[in-house]
């Protein structure tokens, strides 16, 4: 015989369950009207909070422009777009949970992938099972796209290409570069970049005097930098997230360790790298997937790189970086595919995406067989003074490579 | 004389230079009540701690029922039938009185199952007269009841040697009388008892032999009367007045 206390307890549990169920149905009641629903899992807290916000700003800019123009032309009628955002707290299981929720609960038509190759893989895994096209704006390692996912498309070109050009150009422009010291962060993208650099250096006859990785959560690089300094390398190549690179560059200053070429991957392409280092940032080279001084004209919601740049600066009071541009471009490409397919049918839009070959404000987008944007000459940049100056490719060359000033 | 239950040879324990127990040797024959007396700080409790494995002896050896137990740990001593009570009582505070004693029966007492252990425990509670408080949490007991709980717990462990560490401390004279009867009843069950005690009334009415410890050394051994006459013991512990009264 269940006594009063356990009945009471069961009653409360049941009540709690119904309340939460009601909350869910309320939130998803809106799918009746004809609106295109795009799901966006974003890391708004946790380790990737900074990058998550960059994607959010870019998505919002695209969304406002599309809805201002009455929505996306789907066959006969124009449909407004609704963006559903959840914070997956930079936690992989939570990202998977949200992807599942967006597809089954919120019945989204399409998905965007979160920041970084690792978590993109997780969301893509779920989307693939349901056949929902996923637009990945910040995933550039081949290991993400070699899983045979048919519904995954990424706007970033493969990261291999970046370092090949650097190895060739830098050695040509600055004589006497014989030794390189490489320090990489033990994380999906930075690790791949360090490995690519090692290959490119060896291919171009540069001796790899030091090549080590540092684990996520390192608070000090002095030991590694001291050893690198001892090798007398003329080229220092360090990969990592912005805070790792700011710290590494500052500690190089602390040790009076300099080299003609100091390359940090993807640090200098972010405004906060230059703000955080001041004159120490001067001369640091990097590579990126996009730079706001590009001058593409395009028939998309933004019209041109210039227009995107102006609207971003007006809104955020700082220059956009490749994450902002790539995130907005991912939705522009999706919009084009929907218009071309003339339907919201996921398989048809997927095929339209696969056949994409257009020029956007962000640059040319043409997906290869595995869904990655085709490799092309990616901009190489250098911090000169407080400005980020593109050095390559020639159409956007705005300055020439300067060796880093010794101490 | 049957084989000794416990043989102690040259037991020594130093705490940072101070020899709390120094070269102590004695034997305990089964079935007898032996008193261990001596001034405060003589090393009585340390000796008990060494015997029950709470401390590791620096040198010397311990034989229990013919087996060398010098390096034994407390729970091994308990399971071998060597149980003790604490000067400062150590109950399981949030457990009921019954469960406190059940613990003894279940582990050292090697009861077949928790249910069997509970039955044995109830028997011990009746023996010490605490069956009425079986369900009360141990923390709520008065001092005399706590002392009896300690006793019941140790008995539930089916000991062959029971070390009572000042089990009568803090009791009034009526309660001491009851305690003496209880200890006599325990010994009657064939359990050897080593009694650490300051109350000479208890010592001389209960003990068959006496061990006198002073500054960590065994200064006398033998029947109560012989020990009381020993000048060393008088000078170290009993005091001359008491000795004369004893002899008269």
């Amino acid at each position: 015989m269940l006594r009063r206390s356990s009945i009471l307890k069961l009653g409360r549990l049941a009540a709690q369950a119904t309340v939460t169920a009601a909350l869910w149905t309320a939130s998803t009641g809106a799918w009746a009207q004809d609106v295109i629903r795009i799901g966006a899992p974003l890391a708004l807290t946790g380790g990737l909070a900074d990058e998550g916000k960059k994607q959010q700003v870019a998505y919002d800019m695209w969304l406002k422009r599309v809805n201002a123009a009455g929505g996306i032309q789907v066959g006969a009628k124009k449909m407004k777009v609704e963006l559903l955002t959840y914070d997956y707290q930079s936690d992989e299981k939570r990202a998977q949970q949200i992807a599942e929720r967006l597809i089954t609960q919120d019945k989204v038509d399409f998905l965007t992938a979160p920041f970084g190759s690792g978590h993109t893989k997780v969301v893509a895994g779920v989307a693939e099972r349901y056949g929902v096209p996923v637009m990945a704006s910040v995933a550039s390692s081949e290991t993400v796209f070699n899983q045979g996912y048919k519904y995954l498309f990424g706007t970033l070109a493969p990261n291999g290409g970046i370092v090949q050009n650097m190895a060739v150009i830098f050695t040509r422009l600055i004589p006497g570069v014989k030794k390189i010291a490489i320090l990489g962060r033990e994380d999906v993208f930075p690790r791949a970049m360090a490995a690519e650099m090692k290959k490119a250096a060896e291919a171009n006859g540069i001796e790899v005097a030091y090549s080590e990785f540092y684990p996520v959560g390192t608070l000090d690089h002095a030991a590694a930098l001291s050893k690198m300094k001892a090798t007398g390398a003329q080229w220092v190549f360090i990969t990592g997230y912005t805070q790792d690179l700011i710290l590494a560059r500052k500690q190089m200053g602390d040790l009076k360790f300099s080299a003609p070429i100091v390359t940090m991957v993807t640090g200098p392409s972010y405004r906060e790298f230059v703000d955080g280092l001041g004159k120490l940032a001067d001369g640091v080279t990097s590579a990126s997937w996009w730079h706001h001084s590009l001058t593409y004209k395009s028939d998309d919601v933004f019209g041109s790189t210039e227009a995107f740049y102006k609207e971003f600066v007006a809104r955020e009071k700082k220059d956009p970086d490749y994450v902002n541009a790539s995130a907005a471009a991912a939705l522009v490409v999706l919009q084009k595919a929907i218009e071309k397919a003339g339907t919201l049918d996921k398989a048809k839009v997927r095929d339209a995406l696969a056949a994409t070959d257009i020029l956007t404000f962000y640059g040319p987008v043409k997906f290869t067989a595995n869904g990655m944007n085709q490799g092309r000459d990616l901009p190489i940049i250098q911090v000169q003074g407080t400005k980020i100056v593109p050095l390559y490719p020639t159409p956007i060359k705005a300055g020439s490579l300067r060796p880093v000033a010794p101490f | 004389m049957s084989a000794p239950l416990l043989q102690v040879q040259g037991l020594t324990k130093r705490f940072g230079g101070v020899a709390a127990v120094n070269q102590v040797s004695f034997d305990l024959a089964p079935g007898r009540i032996v008193g261990l007396i001596g001034p405060n700080g003589a090393g009585k409790t340390t000796l008990v701690n060494l015997i029950t494995g709470v401390h590791r002896a620096d040198s010397g050896s311990l034989q229990f029922e013919g087996r060398d137990v010098t390096q034994q740990r407390p729970f091994e001593a308990a399971c071998r039938g060597l149980s003790r009570t604490f000067q400062i009582v150590q109950p399981f505070p949030r457990m009921s009185v019954l469960d406190n004693v059940t613990a003894g029966a279940l582990f050292a007492g090697k009861a077949a199952s928790p249910a069997q252990a509970r039955a044995d425990a109830m028997a011990q509670l009746r023996f010490v007269g605490l069956q009425a408080l079986a369900d009360r949490p141990a923390a709520s007991l008065t001092l005399p009841s706590r002392k009896r709980l300690e006793l019941a717990k140790s008995l539930a462990m089916r000991p062959r040697l029971l070390l009572l560490d000042e089990v009568n401390a803090g009791l009034n004279s009526a309660e001491i009388g009851a305690a003496i009867e209880l200890i006599r009843a325990i010994a009657a069950q064939g359990i050897t008892v080593l009694l650490i005690e300051h109350l000479m009334k208890v010592v001389f009415s209960l003990c068959d032999d006496l061990l006198v410890l002073h500054h960590g050394e065994l200064i006398a051994q033998g029947s109560p009367q012989a020990v009381a006459a020993d000048p060393k013991v008088i000078e170290a512990y009993l005091g001359t007045k008491y000795a004369e009264r004893m002899r008269a």
């Binding site: 549990l13 909350l23 936690d91 597809i103 | 729970f75 613990a103």
Partner: protein, 319 residues
């Protein structure tokens, strides 16, 4: 005891019935509930019964995930990989327990939480085996999302049942009684004949066992693992909070705690986009102040004796 098992049976049936009623997302929620119940029940063995506040849960989950993934990549069928991962985690816990359990209170807490960090760093630096920062791919289980959803729900569900069964066995057995003695007064337990070190290590190993299985299952479920996600400090702190919410040292406490925590987190997290972490923090702080004994603590009106007097003698429980 009987009542708790009945309530748990009803709860388990409800979780198992979710696939009939809900869509895949609800099914996934049920899987998370089952997962966290299994973790909470496991934690309770060392944290609740023995009173040793372990923060090593995430270390065992991560170890199970990597072991499971590596075994699966080495060609073992999925379920065999899970079993293998469980054994490896248990062996690791037994070895670790011997050293770790010498510490008490704060030192044990700090020691156990540092194991999570140590394993994360080992997984990160041993790139040859674990793929390091790149992480490890696990072959996606064939069959559509509905099939996959059910497989992983019932897998976690089974682990929850096993965890509950082991909790019931421990609660009734000599080990359970001994652990309670250790929790209340370790020295007295030693004096009473409880083999303290052996029992603590047994409880610690048992508590790690199912964490390893949960880790292996979630590796197959998410099909990608990386060091920072597999060894998550957030998880290792959340599980004890769940047991605190429910009521430590009891049978049902962990289940009630885990289930309500997951539900609270869902509603809190989906309602407040930017403030969900603060909301969760607030819930935890309020919980500690207004529900010190946990939900069960509040419902338990009279002091329940450790062993139910008069409860049916546990058949054949003498190990």
């Amino acid at each position: 005891m009987k009542r708790s098992m009945a309530i748990f049976a009803v709860f388990a049936l409800a979780v198992a019935a979710v696939p009939l009623a809900g869509d895949n997302y609800l099914l996934q929620q049920a899987t998370f509930v089952a997962m966290y119940c299994a973790l909470a029940l496991s934690w309770n063995l060392i944290g609740g019964y023995a009173g040793y506040p372990s923060f090593a849960t995430a270390a065992f989950v991560g170890l199970g995930a990597y072991a499971g993934a590596l075994l699966q990549n080495a060609g073992l069928p999925m379920v065999a990989a899970w079993v293998g991962a469980t054994l490896i985690t248990a062996a690791f816990a037994a070895l670790l327990g011997y050293g770790l359990l010498r510490m008490k209170g704060h030192y044990f807490a700090v020691g156990s939480i540092s194991i999570v960090e140590v394993l994360r760093l080992v997984a990160s630096s041993w790139a040859g085996l674990t793929g390091g920062g790149e992480g490890l791919n696990v072959p996606i289980m064939p069959g559509g999302p509905e099939f996959a959803g059910r497989v992983f729900l019932y897998a976690m569900w089974a682990v929850m049942l096993l965890a509950f069964a082991s909790a019931v066995w421990v609660d009734r057995s000599r080990l359970g009684f001994g652990l309670r003695c250790i929790e209340q007064n370790e020295d007295a337990a030693d004096m009473v004949g409880v083999p303290v070190t052996r029992y603590k290590t047994a409880a610690f190993t048992l508590s790690a066992l199912f964490c390893g299985t949960v880790g292996a299952i979630s590796a197959s479920w998410v099909s990608y693992i990386a060091p920072t996600d597999a060894f998550s400090i957030l998880l290792t702190l959340k599980v004890p909070v769940m047991v605190l919410l429910g009521g430590p040292g009891s049978l049902l406490g962990p289940v009630i705690g885990a289930a309500s925590f997951v539900l609270i987190e869902q509603t809190v997290w989906s309602r407040f986009l930017d403030y969900n972490q603060a909301a969760l923090g607030l819930v935890i702080v309020l919980l500690i102040f207004f529900l010190p004994g946990g939900v069960l603590g509040r419902l338990r009106w009279r002091a329940k004796p450790a062993v139910q007097p008069g409860a049916a003698p546990a058949a054949g429980s003498a190990p």
